[in-house]
Amino acid sequence: MNAQPIVSIAGVSKRFGAIVAVDGVDLDIRRGELFALLGGSGCGKTTLLRMIAGFETPDTGRILIDGQDMAGVPPHRRPVNMMFQSYALFPHMDVAENVAYGLRREGLPAGEIARRVGEALDQVRLADHGKRRPAQLSGGQRQRVALARALIKRPKLLLLDEPLAALDRKLREGTRFELVRLQEQLGLTFVMVTHDQEEAMSMAGRLAVMNEGRIVQVGTPHEVYEHPRSRFVADFIGIANILPVEGGRAWLALRPEKIALFAARPNTDRAEQGRIVDVAYEGDRSLYRVGLVDGSMILVSTANVAREPREPWPRGQEVWLGWANDAGQRLNE
Amino acid sequence: MRLVIALPYVWLATFFLLPFALVLAIAFGTNNPDAVPPIDLGVSLKNFTLLFTDDLYLAAWLGSLRIAATSTLVTLLLGYPMAYAITRARPSLRPLLLMAVILPFWTSFLIRVYAWMGLLSSNGILNQFLRNTGLVADPGTILGTEWAVHLGIVYAYLPFMVLPLYASLEKLDTSLLEAAADLGASPITAFFTVTLPQSLPGVVAGCLLVFIPAVGEFVIPDLLGGTDTLMIGKVLWDEFFLNSDWPLASAVAICLLVLLVGPIALFQRQQAKSLERQ
């Protein structure tokens, strides 16, 4: 029974006028995982999420949640809850009323609602903020209210639309871990939409990369990063050098950190000579643009392990690049 | 949801659209003082030919358009600097200043026109002032002239001009003016090349909001104008209430509507556009 996916999407498409937002998507989401839909703006990830929530109706295809076909089921009867990008906290209600809203709709007794609201607010460390209005909260507190409100109905599935986009950078990193811990504690399935690859990679158990309405690859962060199946994925996730191989019939996706710099010809599987064109010092690492003899450009990154590196590589320096045979991923498209 | 659409739709179709069909039908009828209501239905163009051949009606059409146009222009010339000055006031003062523009609109229209009757009469305060200061020896009577009608329209409709102008001027990004100044434009050049073009939607909306009702105005020419002030709204009123010529009054209504269809459509398009921008 538990092998059955919690969400099963089959052949789902959606158009808005002339624009195809989602184009023939098939996807299974497993029970209890944190799944991320990753892609640039307009790739269809939000539309897909909104179709799961019931705010949009697919033109074709089926969406099953826990084995039940969701066709014709309005949002308020679906066993899913959503955390909105803007949080969508009701400005005319205080925090406790916001969190209680979903339970009120079920007509539960007031005592039980109060108890569960108290628990939910405890869980997000806002127990003493129940009487505040959303306008009186900080960005991080609002995010936690939105989370408590979406979780209080104990949904089978929690949808998160860009859950961290509205937070500032420092807060975002702490909140990532908090969300992951909460998901593991509760044993719920989370589906989140994000445009931030770092966010998706660090939080998700599995992720789907979307482009132009299609899912181009599904896998663990490691699979997607180290074994991209297309030039798009290789290019979209992290940085990749795409080198033509086999006379231009295929490509090699080579990550900059898999290449090493040498002063003289190294004893690696592959070696190329070039000249440093640009250096970008980023603190934790340095990124070099190296022009090869054949005119192509290769990006190389080195971790700045030592505070004062023994051999800095200045612009204009003649260098050798070396990498192993299995350092890159061969791509057919 | 169907009920939500139907409620206003049916109401407006019944009490707004349907009546126009009746007006149109009756405008082609003839007057019969012995009937109740005083109408003989028919298909006669008599009323319309009368409206476009009789000197009295022609004068009334032209008078309405002329008076409405000049008073709209004067209202614009007065309202624009006001709206502009409000946008330049301290932000904390602006709501108060704006409220002060709106307040007269919330009082009675009739009372505001009435206020000028006392001011403009031959022994009124304005004349006393002119005489006492020696500015004008014998000012004559302003009440009962076209001057008074103009004054009344400008006064009564000034809030309608200031509000849309303020709305469009307020949106103006002041850094645009700084950019213009930085690029060598004098304040006056900057006004004509940046501020004025940007506020054009407000100018159009304000002018239409004054011009359209001013053309059909009745109360102002009736109370402030004289017997020689001919405006079409007053003609319609008199045909209806004094002469009981319902078909002729209906024909006047139809012509007035046709005359204003252009400006009204323009106003509606402008409204729709500004809502889209939001």
């Binding site: 959503m82 | 009490f15 600097p81 009082t107 109360v219 209806f240 204003l260």
Partner: protein
């Protein structure tokens, strides 16, 4: 900079003097001993006493108030529906006509609306002996042209309404009707309130439309004022004007407070 500030100050001083001097004089002369509005003959409240003893005026005021209350309330309900449809229902049969019908009464010359509505009531009276001209016909006329003002205010409020609030409510199990009742309506209530106030004021103030559809028996306050004013200046009207200005100022401050509270 100083020159420009002085220019702004001059413009505002002149503009507000133009707007308020006539009103101030009307108020001042309501306390004049003399009947003439041109001569100040000392302080007196006799015109105020006369106003409050003026039976016809009081009856007209009472009728106007009742009509305004009824028509503003009905117009608020229909205008709310119309504004909601304009903001939220992008496509249905006759959408363009619907939009024009809602907005048109705002800019329609009142004499045209007046004559057309009277003709409707006359024809309907001939056909089905209903309605009698009076309270009902005046209220219908006022509702019809007030709908536009409520609808425009509601539509503008809904245009910058965050749709995800409604989606969040539905996501948490609220039916569309519950969503409207618990989320949408409370949040647009200030707009509906100021629309109601606008409709109330317009109804209280309307002369032309009312004159057409009122019939012989009913006389509203503006009709009473108009027939009195036609005969010339009357200090009782000045006293009435003072009351109206005071009430309008209070109403405006109240509606300003309502809109500020929503933020």
């Amino acid at each position: 900079m100083v020159g420009r500030a002085r220019f702004a100050l001059t413009v505002l001083a002149f503009g507000y003097a133009f707007l308020y001097l006539p009103i101030a004089l009307v108020i001042l002369y309501s306390f004049n001993e003399s009947r003439l509005v041109t001569v100040w003959a000392g302080f007196s409240t006799k015109w105020w006493s006369a106003l409050f003893a003026n039976e016809a005026m009081l009856r007209a005021a009472w009728l106007s108030l009742r009509i305004a209350l009824v028509s503003a309330t009905v117009a608020a309900v229909i205008g709310l529906a119309a504004g909601y449809v304009l903001a939220r229902v992008p496509r249905f049969f006759g959408r363009t006509l619907f939009g024009s019908l809602v907005i048109a009464p705002m800019v329609m010359p009142e004499v045209v609306m007046g004559i057309s509505m009277l003709l409707l009531f006359v024809v309907s009276d001939q056909l089905v002996s209903w309605p009698n001209r009076g309270f009902l016909t005046i209220a219908i006329a006022h509702i019809t042209f007030s709908i536009a003002f409520v609808a425009v205010v509601v539509q503008a409020r809904l245009a910058d309404f965050d749709r995800s609030l409604e989606e969040a409510a539905m996501d948490l199990g609220a039916t569309p009707w519950t969503t409207f009742r618990t989320i949408t309506l409370p949040l647009i209530a200030p707009a509906v309130g100021s629309g109601w106030l606008l409709a109330f004021t317009l109804s209280l103030d309307d002369l032309i439309l009312t004159q057409f559809v009122a019939g012989a028996q009913s006389e509203t306050l503006p009709m009473r004022v108009y027939s009195s004013v036609r005969l010339g200046v009357d200090p009782q009207i000045n006293a009435l004007a003072t009351i109206i200005v005071a009430v309008a100022a209070c109403a405006l401050i109240f509606s300003g407070w309502l809109t500020r509270r929503k933020a």
